[in-house]
């Protein structure tokens, strides 16, 4: 049946031709999708996880870059915060279609870096643009280093801080002589007295914090108190439980001492916190500085923000995390694209005073010392917290929004609520940690 064969051959040829014609038009999204390459939609493709006020500030910073480099286009994609973001970033990079610049929490860096998903900073032309260790908050730069190599450029430090109601503090006699800060508190006892003074001055609670269904906040609170008297809860890249049971128990006992006398509630939702602190019914608020924008515009509320004092240990510590800029690894990225990415990173750092409006302490020292930042209150009052920062322990499972924080934080919620004593709490904490340290790491860290 030569006729049939001829027809078939003709069809096959035609199909092949159509196929190659389609692939030759390599600019269409369909073709890049089929070929598995990154569509060239902009000079810099930037992924971040910022919505709300932070998101608006980030857009201003992107616009500042566009203005400074009129020839370069930026395409910014906002993805869901937390695990979904990091999952997408990792899988996109592993499959060869990463963004040119991405945001990463420094607490999430160890796994990303150890998996070979990030370009080391020194290979990206960033040092040539003046991005070197001496120009950043040391604690942040230290945390951006994994196994001796720097993988991220810190943008900020966002510590867990102490908000206080200025009017109540004045009534309670807690303000210093100048009247713009608190009298120094040196330890847990003096701190507890301050809470009591607030309550006596007419506050419903000495202090409030978000507890119910908020394991992350509870973990930050625990980390801060505990880090004053002991080292990281896991060591050896997260493969060994190193929790100090005595320290954990004293931390829990301290937390419960505040709730026992009614100085703090045992359970409270985020919206409850907001209502109490906004209406002057709470003296102190324990939260991240990123909450500043939600209280700044409340009528009749005067508040200030300071680092936490030393509590159980000799020195003050601040639990903190940082947003940083990373350049995901992409073998197919041209040197021109890499250069654009580096320019973009540098531009974000230069404009990070805008970023500070969200409450974050700029990590770029020249911004941190600039008038544009130092004019911002209360931001300028807790810069020291960035230098006393303690981050999540180094492991493949820790970090912002991780399951680890959820699991451990849930145990801490139980303790704060009074359903677990300090001793049982410490035992439960150890069991939680064990579940992570015994799991097989997907990659070797360090």
């Amino acid at each position: 049946m030569s006729g049939a064969l001829g027809r078939r051959r003709f069809l096959a040829l035609g199909g092949g031709l159509a196929m190659s014609a389609g692939l030759a038009a390599c600019s269409s999204p369909l073709a890049t999708g089929l070929a598995g390459t990154q569509p060239d939609t902009a000079d810099v493709i930037f992924w971040n996880l910022f919505t709300g006020g932070d998101g608006a500030n980030m857009v201003l910073m992107e616009d500042a870059f566009r203005k400074a480099h009129p020839g370069l286009s930026v395409e910014a994609t906002i993805l869901g915060w937390g695990n979904p973001y990091y999952t997408k970033l990792a899988l996109a990079t592993a499959s060869g279609t990463p963004p040119d610049v991405g945001i990463s929490h420094l607490s999430r860096l160890p796994l990303l870096a150890a998996s070979g998903l990030l370009e080391p900073v020194e290979d990206t032309g960033l040092p040539e643009l003046g991005i070197t260790s001496d120009k950043f908050t040391p604690a942040a730069w230290q945390k951006a280093t994994v196994g001796g190599t720097v993988y991220a450029v810190p943008l900020d430090t966002h510590p867990f801080v102490l908000f206080y109601n200025t009017d109540l503090a004045r009534k309670a006699g807690l303000l210093d002589a100048a009247g713009d800060g608190l009298k120094p508190m040196r330890n847990a006892a003096e701190f507890t007295d301050a809470l009591r003074a607030m309550k006596d001055a007419g506050a419903q609670y000495g202090a409030v914090m978000s507890i119910t269904a908020d394991p992350s906040t509870c973990w930050r609170y625990f980390s801060m108190v505990y880090s004053g008297i002991a080292g990281p809860v896991v060591t050896h890249e997260g493969t060994r439980v190193a929790v100090d049971d005595d320290a954990a128990q004293s931390t829990f006992a301290f937390m419960q001492s505040l709730t026992k006398d009614g100085l703090m509630p045992r359970s409270l939702t985020g919206s409850g916190v907001n209502a109490l602190f906004s209406t002057g019914k709470a003296g102190f608020l324990f939260d991240g500085e990123w909450q500043i924008p939600s209280y700044r515009d409340v009528k009749g509320l005067h508040f200030n923000v300071v680092p936490f004092p030393a509590l159980l240990g000799p020195k003050p510590v601040a639990y903190a995390d940082s947003h940083s800029l990373v350049i995901p690894r992409n073998g197919k990225r041209s040197s021109a694209r890499t250069a654009h990415a580096a320019l973009f990173v540098r531009s974000l750092l230069d404009n990070s005073a805008i970023w500070a409006h969200g409450g974050h302490v700029p990590a770029w020292l020249s911004t941190q010392r600039s008038k544009a930042f130092l004019d911002q209150s209360p931001q300028r009052n807790y810069v020291q917290a960035a230098f006393n920062a303690v981050y999540d322990p180094v492991a493949w499972y820790t970090g912002a929004g991780s399951d680890f924080q959820t699991t451990v934080g849930s145990t801490i919620i139980e303790v704060i609520a009074g359903r677990l004593g300090p001793k049982d709490g410490a035992a439960r904490l150890r069991a939680d940690l064990k579940r992570y340290t015994t799991a097989r790491p997907p990659v070797k860290i360090g």
Partner: protein, 332 residues
């Protein structure tokens, strides 16, 4: 229900086609044509079903990471051992089973009830069929977005309705029981259309003569439904039931999108557990092992179901061969 089940109630092949059971005499060209005609499906099936399954089986014996090429180190059965000892895996498995228990009965019963009702309306049959089936074609992300607006505390439609009549609304997003309620109600509204269509098709297969005969015998509409429609639909019911069980066990997207498996992983289905370990934690090998355990459970459920059905139909056939005892009272 994530995947659209591609099965339909098995119809009988039309009587005109005579099937050759004698394989020897089937001409070669015909067999080749058969293979050729089914080859597109076979290729896709091999490429996207059998292939990945084989890869998954292999990977589950290694410490493979999702973000690097290569298999990683050989770990033997250790992934499996960890999975079956992991309380979080079993609680996720239980959440999938619980979702199945909560959704399957109403989805079957309501679909049957409404299919019967829709088949008995005089006017507007098409409208009702369309109205019941319409939600099913909406993508899950859109459905979740709509329901999220309705469920949101303080500002959502449902809490507003509750407060309008002076009740406090359950916390649909922030609590476990509220979360289950929210996701089950949403799933009912969203996927009920599929079973409804299956039942509608089944009802159309019931000959009208049966109803006419029943009507002559003086059966009320309710009796007709109770003694004719429902028993005659038993085959459809068993199909709907197994499809629904399997679909509900495969739940992922609506729980993930609406609740994120929260609060505190208390509604996380097993597929989200697999996703979290395999992709979010990069533990591909471990995720694959969890998948295999889950796969075995699904296959076991299906196999048990089909064995039961086979046994029951065989029993029914045996019963059919015996003459039914007829109690006749003669009054002479």
């Amino acid at each position: 229900m994530t995947t659209i089940a591609s099965e339909r109630p098995a119809g009988r092949p039309a009587g005109r086609i005579t099937l050759r059971t004698d394989r020897e005499r089937a001409p070669r060209s015909e067999r080749r044509a058969g293979l050729l005609l089914s080859s597109p499906f076979l290729i896709v099936y091999l490429l996207f079903m059998i292939g990945p399954l084989a890869v998954g089986v292999v990977v589950s014996f290694f410490n493979t990471t999702t973000v690097k090429s290569g298999l990683g180190g050989w770990v033997g059965l250790s992934n499996y051992r960890t999975v079956v000892q992991d309380s979080l895996f079993w609680s996720a498995m239980w959440h999938s089973v619980l979702f199945t228990l909560l959704t399957t009965p109403p989805l079957v019963v309501l679909a049957l009830a409404f299919a019967v009702l829709a088949s008995r309306v005089r006017r507007g049959t098409v409208f009702y069929r369309l109205a019941f089936f319409a939600p099913y074609v909406v993508p899950s992300s859109v459905v979740v977005l709509v329901f999220l607006w309705m469920y949101t505390p303080q500002v959502g439609l449902v809490p507003k309705l509750f407060s309008a009549v002076g009740l406090t609304s359950p916390d649909f997003i922030g609590s476990t029981s509220g979360g289950w309620t929210a996701v089950v109600l949403m799933t009912l509204w969203w996927t009920f259309g599929f079973n409804f269509v299956l039942y509608t098709a089944g009802i159309q297969d019931v000959p009208t003569e049966v109803y006419e005969a029943a009507a002559i015998d003086g059966a009320s509409p309710w009796q007709q439904i109770r003694f004719l429609t429902v028993p005659l639909l038993s085959r459809t019911t068993s199909l709907v039931l197994i499809l629904q069980i399997l679909a509900s066990l495969k739940v992922f997207d609506q729980i993930y999108l609406l609740l994120g498996g929260g609060p505190n992983q208390s509604t996380r289905p097993v597929i989200e557990y697999i996703y979290d370990t395999g992709f979010t934690s990069y533990r591909g090998g471990y995720g694959a092992a969890a998948t295999m355990v889950y796969f075995v459970i699904i296959v076991a459920i299906s196999a048990a179901w089909y064995a039961l059905r086979h046994y029951r139909t065989a029993a029914a056939e045996r019963a059919d061969q015996r003459p039914a005892p007829r109690a006749e009272r003669r009054t002479s």
